[in-house]
Structure formats: C-alpha cells, structure tokens
C-alpha cells in the first residue's frame, strides 16, 4: 500500500438521532434493571417507611415515559427526507439494491464471503432488525402502560388502552412484558457485538460515529442507483 488511502467523511447521525439513541440506551438499561427488581424484588426495606420498591417502580415508569417519548420523536424525525435517518432507510428489503446489500451482509456474517461490507449509513441487516425492535417496543409500551393504567380504571390512559385489555388478561400482559425484555436484551447483545465487529472490519469508525455523528469510507461509489447524498448535509437527490 504505497499510495495514500483517501477517506471520505459522511455526517450520518444527526444530533437528534444520536440523542434518541442514547436516551433509548439509557432507558433500556434502567428499565431492564428496575424491571428485573420489580419481578424479583431482591431488595429489602428495613422499615415500612423505606419505600424501596416505590422508588424502583418510580424509576421504571419515568424511564418508560422517556423511552416512549424518544421512540416517537425518532419516528417523527424519520419523516424528514434525510438520506440516513429518513424512513426509507429502514426498509432496504423493499428495494432490489437493498436486498442485494442484505445478502452481502448475510454472506459476511455466515463466513461465506470474505468481502467486508462497507455500509455508510445504516447497516442494511441491522436496520431490518431495528424495525423488529420498534415492533417489540410498541408491544412493551402497550403492555407496560396498560399494566400501569390499572391503578386508575376508567381513567384516560386505561380508556385509550382498552383494546389491550380486551386482547389479553393482566397476567398475560405481565408474561409478554417479561418475554419482551429478554428479546430486547438479546437484541442489545447482538447490537453491541456487531458494532464492535464492524468497527474492526470496516475501519469506518462505527463505534465513535454514534458519539460524533461521522463515519468514514474509502469507497469510491457509495450509493446505489437513484440515491445520492451530500457528504456533509446528506440530502437526497433522486435521479429518475
């Protein structure tokens, strides 16, 4: 490698995307810890005034609200026509190019091909997993807030969530809420591992990108046909 490599820098994660990511990460961490303690209270108060479980539940509810606000904000942000954060990015399996990229990714993961994928925006396979994750989130919001609203039957929240009560019993909601947590934990393990792996293999600054917002690539042609993005501002120019 005598000739110097030329890296192109892309501003992929806008500030709201990064904020949502870290609010999600923090609230998932808090929700999992407090949720586990609510299910298996290993904590013990020394006197009836200690309110230990009360605080654990309070943190769980606040983190739950933080997560739903963050997720809904992120969904609203995806309505802007941005190359890396717009809603189109989330459905690579709908386009031919996207499916090809997913195939490259799968071949890499299953050690079939040595060709390292070099995704500039979202990794096409990861983004497909995020769609599943968001569905799990909404299952957790429905079951979680339906359980929470039971303290005030007939209240605004309980009335709004009536379909959930018709669909399943309270105990079933508890069950799905636990299963949902474990699915999210499995996702987190996968997510952290993949970021780590691709940071090493792609050499594009995968891990730091979620702090700084920038990713690097040596690719000459980055985007599939009909989709071009500016290096800094990242707006779409659709050629027809």
């Amino acid at each position: 490698m005598s000739e110097p490599l030329i890296f192109k820098r892309y501003y992929v994660w806008q500030l709201p995307v990064r904020i949502c990511h870290w609010v999600n990460a923090l609230s998932i961490l808090l929700l999992s810890i407090t949720g586990f303690l609510i299910g298996y209270p290993v904590i013990a108060g020394s006197s009836p005034q200690s309110f230990v479980m009360g605080w654990v539940r309070f943190i769980h509810f606040v983190a739950g609200y933080a997560l739903i606000i963050s997720v809904i904000s992120r969904l609203l942000w995806s309505l802007n026509d941005h190359c890396f954060s717009g809603w189109r990015e989330y459905f690579p399996f709908l386009t031919k190019e996207g499916r090809a990229e997913i195939l490259v990714m799968l071949k890499f993961y299953f050690f079939i091909d040595r060709k390292t994928p070099d995704a500039v925006g979202h990794n096409p396979l990861a983004v497909t997993a995020y769609v599943g994750l968001f569905l799990i989130f909404f299952g957790m919001f429905a079951s979680g807030f339906a359980l929470y609203a039971e303290h005030a039957p007939g209240g605004v929240m309980a009335t709004a969530l009536k379909p959930v009560y018709l669909l399943m019993s309270t105990q079933t909601m508890h069950l799905y809420h636990h299963i949902g947590m474990w699915l999210i934990i499995c996702f987190v393990i996968n997510h952290i591992y993949s970021v780590w792996l691709l940071d090493i293999k792609e050499k594009g600054g995968e891990i730091t990108s979620i702090f700084s917002g920038y990713k690097y690539t040596t690719k000459v042609h980055v985007f599939s046909e009909g989709k071009e993005c500016d290096e800094n501002g990242c707006f779409i120019r659709v050629k027809k």
Binding site: G39, F51, G54, P153, S169, I179, W182, I189, L197, G204
Partner: protein, 379 residues
C-alpha cells in the same frame, strides 16, 4: 326531592312486584328488627355501594317504603358456594334477606317445594312477573352437545337460562362460574362451560364474580335497584363499579410493605408472621379488581390476604387458567414444561445469543477478511 324519588321507586316496585304486600320497613318492624339495626344495615349498604354517608337516610327511606322484589335463583354447574355464602351472610341475616328484603320464589337448595311443585313455582313466577322479576344465576352453563351435560328436571341449563333470564328484569350472575364460566370452564373445559353473558346474549346481566361472591355485594346490588330503580353502573366486564372498580393491590392493607420492599419469602418466615406483602408468594392482587380489602368477608371479619394467603385472583375473567400457578407471580409459558418460567427461557435465550456471538467473534478474529480499502482498488 329524595322523598319524591323514593316514593316513585316504591310505586314502580309495587308495579313490578304486582302484588299487595307490606313494605320492607313494615315487615322488619313486624319481625322485631329494631329501627337502630335497620339504620345500621342501611349505613352499611350505603358504604358498600361507595355512596357518601349522606345517602344513608335516602337508602333508609327507600327501603322503608318499597315492596319486596320477586326473585328466582337458578343453580347450574356450581358448588352452591354462593348460596352458602349468602345463607351465612351476617349482614343482613338470612331472615332479613331471604324472607324480608327479597321474595325468593324459587331456589332449589332452600325451597320447601320439590319436583313438579318446584317446577310449577318457577313457571308461575316467570309467567306472572314477566319482565319484572330478578333472576340470580349461580354456576356456569354447559354449551357443548346442546348443553346435555347440565340438566335440571329434564331441561338443559341452557334452555332454562334462555327462558328465565330472557324474560327477567335483570339477571345477576353470582360467582365466577356464572359470570365467566369459572372452574368448570378451565382447560380442557369438557362441558363447554360459559358464563351467563355468553349463553344468553342480549339479556341484562350484572356480573358479581368471586369465589364465592361476597354476599354484601349481592345485597348492595339489590338495594341499589330498590333505591334507585335501576341497575348499578357496570364496567366493561359487566361488574358493578362500586364493588369491582378498584384493584385489590391498590387498596390492600399490606401495600405499604410492598412499597417498602418487605416481602414474605417462605411460608411461616419472620416476614409472614409480621404481615409483610405476599407479592413473592404469587399474590394476584395486582391483577384483580374487587373490593375484598375494604368490604371483606363474613361480617367484615377477614379476607384471604388478611389471613396470610396470597390473592388467587378468583373474581377475574378466565380464572382459573389465567391466574395459575397460584403460588407464582407469572403464568407459565404455553408449550413449555411446568418449571419453565418466561424468565428462565429468556435468560437461556440471552445466554445462547451471547455464546453464539462469542464463537462468531472468535472465528472473526482468526479469519482474514478483505479490507474495504483493498476492495476500493479492485473497483
């Protein structure tokens, strides 16, 4: 205004009962029930209906004046536990309730008549007071194979229920079996048992679930009808809001221990003796809506949690299936063995995923993949 209202109601009830009778107040006086005891009963009923204490005189006045409503009591697939609970009700006593407040024209367990005589009593009541009598149903109704698994005097319960509940002013489904099918409807439900609501769609039904139903709630429902001339406000499961509008967990006397993180860990431990929260022993109070903590059973003596046993969730729909296992907080995962809880499966899943990625990482570390920069040169 209140006297107007209650006199209207008394006229209405007179119309409903259709027979000239003494008012409840007069009967009680005749039977030697003191005014003081009567007013105490009225206050207790006002409290049971979640009405403010200022309503007690209204209740007393209305009960003073109204005539006894006609009532028929049907026993289907049941254990007669609700009849037992009612007969042993301390407030009102058997005499007050059965003989004075309600005119029970048909009740298989306690009526003197038998056989054809009993059938005639039922038949004459439902034809004479069509659309005016109150029907109480105890027990679930078998629907499978035309309802042949539950018959009384040669007729299926389904047939009887459709006929009797269909022409009643209102039907009170007493106990969890009558309300939702209960124990008989638990998996595999061999008789196709359902609650009255599912067996007689379209009938006016008040569900009073519980195993057994708290007799005070039945009396309060009847008193509500006598005082206001209509059935009480119901929730989406058809239960009166005054009795089923709040969650047990939120009114529990052990709730401070829950919030403090003080739990019974094993039966008979120090926490159990001190009256700590039964959450970890599988209490279903957080999933059950009933007035047990405030109304209690047997002259407000006790209720399961006060006696040191976790709530079984007996008054919720799909009890027994949805509330099992009794001594575990979470239901079992369908399709897995009994000891496989959601969290054991979840933990196994997480460990599996972690191990799979650890192996993947080890292989990836040893494997020499193409550098993206190399690819650039190829391109």
């Amino acid at each position: 205004m209140s006297s107007n209202k209650s006199s209207n109601v008394s006229e209405k009830t007179e119309q409903i009962s259709g027979k000239q009778e003494f008012s409840i107040g007069e009967i009680l006086k005749k039977r030697g029930v003191s005014r003081r005891d009567f007013l105490k009963f009225c206050s207790a009923m006002t409290a049971a209906m979640s009405l403010p204490a200022s309503f007690a005189p209204t209740v007393a006045q209305a009960l003073d004046e109204v005539k006894r409503p006609t009532l028929v009591w049907l026993n289907f697939q049941d254990c007669t536990g609700d009849s037992e609970a009612l007969l042993r009700a301390a407030n009102p006593t058997v005499g007050e309730l059965i003989l004075d407040i309600l005119s029970v024209d048909y009740h298989e367990t306690i009526m003197a008549a038998a056989g054809h005589q009993a059938d005639e009593a039922l038949e004459s009541t439902i034809t004479k007071y069509k659309g005016k009598y109150i029907c109480v149903v105890e027990g679930s109704i078998s629907m499978k194979d035309g309802g042949v698994y539950g018959c009384t005097s040669g007729k299926t319960h389904l047939e009887i229920a459709r006929r009797v509940c269909g022409s009643a002013f209102a039907t009170i489904a007493i106990g969890t079996c009558a309300a939702y099918g209960g124990i008989a409807a638990a998996i595999p439900n061999p008789t196709g048992a359902v609650g009255v609501r599912d067996a007689v769609p379209g009938a006016t039904i008040i569900n009073l679930p519980g195993c057994p139903c708290n007799a005070d709630n039945l009396t309060a429902t009847v008193v509500h009808y006598l005082v206001f001339g209509k059935i009480p406000a119901l929730d989406s499961h058809g239960r009166p809001l005054f009795a089923y509008g709040k969650r047990i967990h939120d009114n529990c006397e052990r709730r401070p221990h829950f919030d403090a993180g003080q739990y019974v860990e094993i039966w008979g431990d120090e926490g159990h003796r001190k009256g700590f929260c039964l959450y970890k022993m599988g209490c279903k109070g957080p999933a059950t809506f009933h007035n047990c903590p405030t109304q209690r059973y047997n002259e407000k003596t006790s209720w399961p949690v006060a006696a040191g046993h976790p709530c079984a969730g007996c008054s919720e729909p799909q009890f027994w299936d949805a509330m099992g296992p009794m001594y575990k907080r979470l239901p079992n995962v369908p399709g897995f063995g009994i000891e496989h809880t959601a969290d054991k499966i979840g933990l196994g899943m997480a460990v599996g995923v972690g191990a799979a990625f650890a192996v993947h990482g080890a292989i990836s570390a040893l494997r020499k993949d193409k550098d993206p920069a190399e690819k650039t040169k190829e391109d």
